[in-house]
């Protein structure tokens, strides 16, 4: 294997490949940083260009775009509290407060270090544990999926606000909104208009929920601080902060690797689960949500930790875990390679070249992140009174361009007003978003499990894996209630 990897290293280490990967990473960072433009969009737009390229450089370009956009999403999350991608929503919890304290550079640096660490660990795992993880993922059926998502939701509800109860209310609201549109058997639910039969897309809900309430806060409360620009000030991550965050970074990367390897779970749930775990074990847990670098480290390492491992089910089983890997599956097939167990027999050299290229792209991500950081951090100098309306217009154009429909724009504005009400009632937005994303899968797996068991709910606790996730969910609830009771007494 080592010999094959060395041969692949020689084949990949060409100037042409480096330029392609660098262009992909840069393009991805910029696209990811623009609210409304997603990694999926970047990869889809680049797909036609790959028709004229060699197989491996074309896949590397798509992977680089994916990685760049995942990191880029955190840039706007930190600077303007508008996550460029759903997976960066968790980074707003600590990134934006840190930027408001005049430490935007520190937050961006920590996001970059953690993203690169997560990405690198994810790539290493792809090389060495692709096959066993893929086999484990195959053993996860509807009841196990359901319990895994219940655990992820409980974690998010517990950590993203000051009250578990309010977090659960928020999650219920998200789950309910996710039922709008056509269900798995073709029934339409809550279709008040014809447009609503297609359901609500993630991008307008995500951006409406996080970006628009910021504008409304500035308009309604008009604090004097909103008229002043943020100071760049403290840019460096200190050694003490890095040492403090390293554990969360490594743990987050592993959470990202495992959750990324399970088709459909995705980086958003991984980021929030990692954040929850970091908050639970950190000595600085009271500072989480107020601008804690460890929070950024946990979230960013986990969402980038998914980048490599989402390729595991694709390469080992031929199963795309999300939309982006679905597009990549198309790219593989265009170039005459069929992902799945046979790929390791028929195209072993190409697989190893892909592995090595992905490792290189982690290094390039670091370089591209450092180079663009100075440019991006100037954004924080724009006064929020001017910035927030600009972001609104960016969101309107970005969202309209996704579907060429005013329906998504209306959803964006309506979600903004709804998000503002949630803020007024101190209901956290993060559990809502995760519940909205996981909702359809949660319901689908519950209904499938009940159909398999002929309506018997005991199927949900019928295997060791379901027991494991159920116990973890109960553990999180108990720990959170205990912590909140302690705080209430103090």
């Amino acid at each position: 294997m080592l010999n094959d990897l060395l041969i692949a290293f020689q084949a990949v280490a060409t100037i042409e490949n480096f330029l392609i990967m660098a262009a992909g990473i840069w393009g991805g960072v910029i696209i990811g940083a623009i609210p409304g433009m997603t990694g999926t969009m970047a990869v889809t737009l680049a797909l036609p260009f790959t028709f004229y390229m060699q197989p491996i450089p074309s896949i590397l370009l798509l992977v680089a775009l994916y990685k760049g956009s995942t990191y880029g999403g955190s840039v706007s999350a930190i600077l303007i509290k508008t996550p460029g991608t759903a997976s960066a929503a968790c980074t707003t919890l600590d990134g934006y407060p840190l930027a408001r304290q005049g430490k935007a550079g520190k937050a961006l640096n920590m996001a970059l270090y953690s993203s690169c660490t997560g990405d690198f660990i994810s790539n290493i795992s792809l090389i060495f544990i692709a096959a066993p993880l893929a086999l484990l993922a195959l053993r996860i059926g509807p009841p196990e999926y359901f319990m895994l998502m219940v655990f992820a939701l409980t974690t998010v509800a517990g950590v993203s606000g000051r009250s578990l109860l309010l977090g659960l209310v928020s999650a219920c609201l998200g789950l309910l909104l996710a039922t709008v549109g056509e269900d798995m058997y073709g029934s339409f639910r809550f279709d008040l208009t014809v447009d609503m039969q297609g359901g609500l897309a993630v991008a307008p809900v995500l951006i409406g929920l996080f970006a628009i309430p910021e504008l409304l806060k500035i308009v309604v409360f008009r604090n004097t601080e909103t008229q002043q620009a943020m100071q760049l000030g403290d840019n460096k991550v200190t050694r003490a902060e890095l040492r403090r965050s390293i554990k969360s970074m490594l743990k987050g990367s592993m959470i990202g690797v495992v959750m990324g390897a399970i088709p459909g779970i995705g980086p958003s749930a991984a980021a929030f689960s990692s954040y929850g775990e970091a908050q639970r074990t950190s000595k600085q847990r009271d500072n989480f949500g107020k601008g804690e670098v460890e929070g950024i480290a946990a979230s960013e390492s986990a969402n980038n930790g998914c980048c490599g491992s989402t390729m595991i089910p694709l390469l080992a089983l031929g199963v795309p875990g999300d939309v982006i890997t679905g597009v990549m599956l198309g790219a593989f097939m265009i170039h005459g390679m069929t992902p799945g167990p046979m790929l390791f027999e028929t195209n072993l050299n190409e697989v190893y070249m892909l592995f090595i290229g992905m490792l290189f792209s982690s290094v390039l991500l670091f370089g591209a992140g450092k180079a663009t950081m100075r440019f991006f951090s100037h954004i924080s100098r724009i006064p929020p009174g001017l910035m927030a309306p600009i972001v609104l217009v960016l969101c309107l154009f970005g969202i309209f361009s996704i579907s060429n429909s005013m329906y998504d724009v209306i959803v964006l504005l309506a979600m903004g007003v709804f998000g503002f009400f949630m803020f007024l009632l101190a209901i956290p937005a993060a559990p809502f978003l995760i519940a909205f994303i996981l909702g359809p899968m949660l319901e689908e797996n519950l209904r499938r499990a009940l159909a398999i068991s002929r309506g018997d709910p005991s199927i949900l606790v019928s295997s060791p894996i379901t027991w494991l996730f159920a116990s973890l969910a109960v553990f999180v609830v108990v720990i959170t209630i205990r912590q909140q009771l302690k705080k209430a007494k103090a």
Binding site: L165, Y185, L215, T226, I390, V393, S401, L425
Partner: protein
């Protein structure tokens, strides 16, 4: 705020459970095999939401448990500004959003965006720097319009009024 919030949450989920689901989630006359019906999941979630709302309400009634249900102090969010002023500002923002949606079919996406941007800059209080505001309000939507229509081939609505005028 805790009691009001508890009532609102309970009422919201109650309306969904008792009014919206019977009206907008029809049960098919035939469900094959043991497949759960389409209203099973929304009903379960609404019921859970209602229980959580009632729990919030109950915890807010006692001073001992209030801190669990209501950890944030509402006054710190609102500040000293009178509620009427806040409501008027909020009302203006929502009106601007509604007018934007209405104006798109009449004036087109570009012009409606420029007007919305001007309105929001006035509402945020940044309007005092008129020159910067005007440049940003015109240049930004125009640049975005050109970028999205040329790079991504997005076809923005042109507006019936402008079409009638031959623009």
């Amino acid at each position: 705020m805790g009691i009001a919030r508890g009532v609102m949450v309970t009422a919201l989920f109650g309306i969904v459970l008792l009014v919206m689901i019977p009206l907008y989630v029809p049960r098919p006359s035939f469900i094959p095999g043991f497949a759960p019906p389409p209203d099973m999941w929304p009903r379960a979630v609404s019921l859970l939401g209602m229980v959580l709302g009632l729990l919030l309400l109950a915890l807010s009634l006692s001073k001992k448990t209030q801190a669990i249900a209501d950890p944030e102090d509402a006054a710190t969010i609102r500040g000293n500004t009178p509620l009427a002023v806040l409501l008027v500002r909020f009302g203006w923002s929502v009106l601007a959003f509604a007018l934007f949606v209405g104006a798109v079919s009449l004036l087109g996406f570009l012009l409606a965006s420029i007007l919305l941007l001007v309105a929001m800059l006035v509402l945020t209080g940044y309007w005092r720097r008129k020159r910067v505001t005007l440049i940003v309000a015109v240049a930004l939507p125009l640049l975005l319009y050109l970028f999205f229509s040329s790079a991504l081939n997005t076809r923005f609505p042109t507006g019936s009024l402008l079409r009638a005028l031959g623009v």
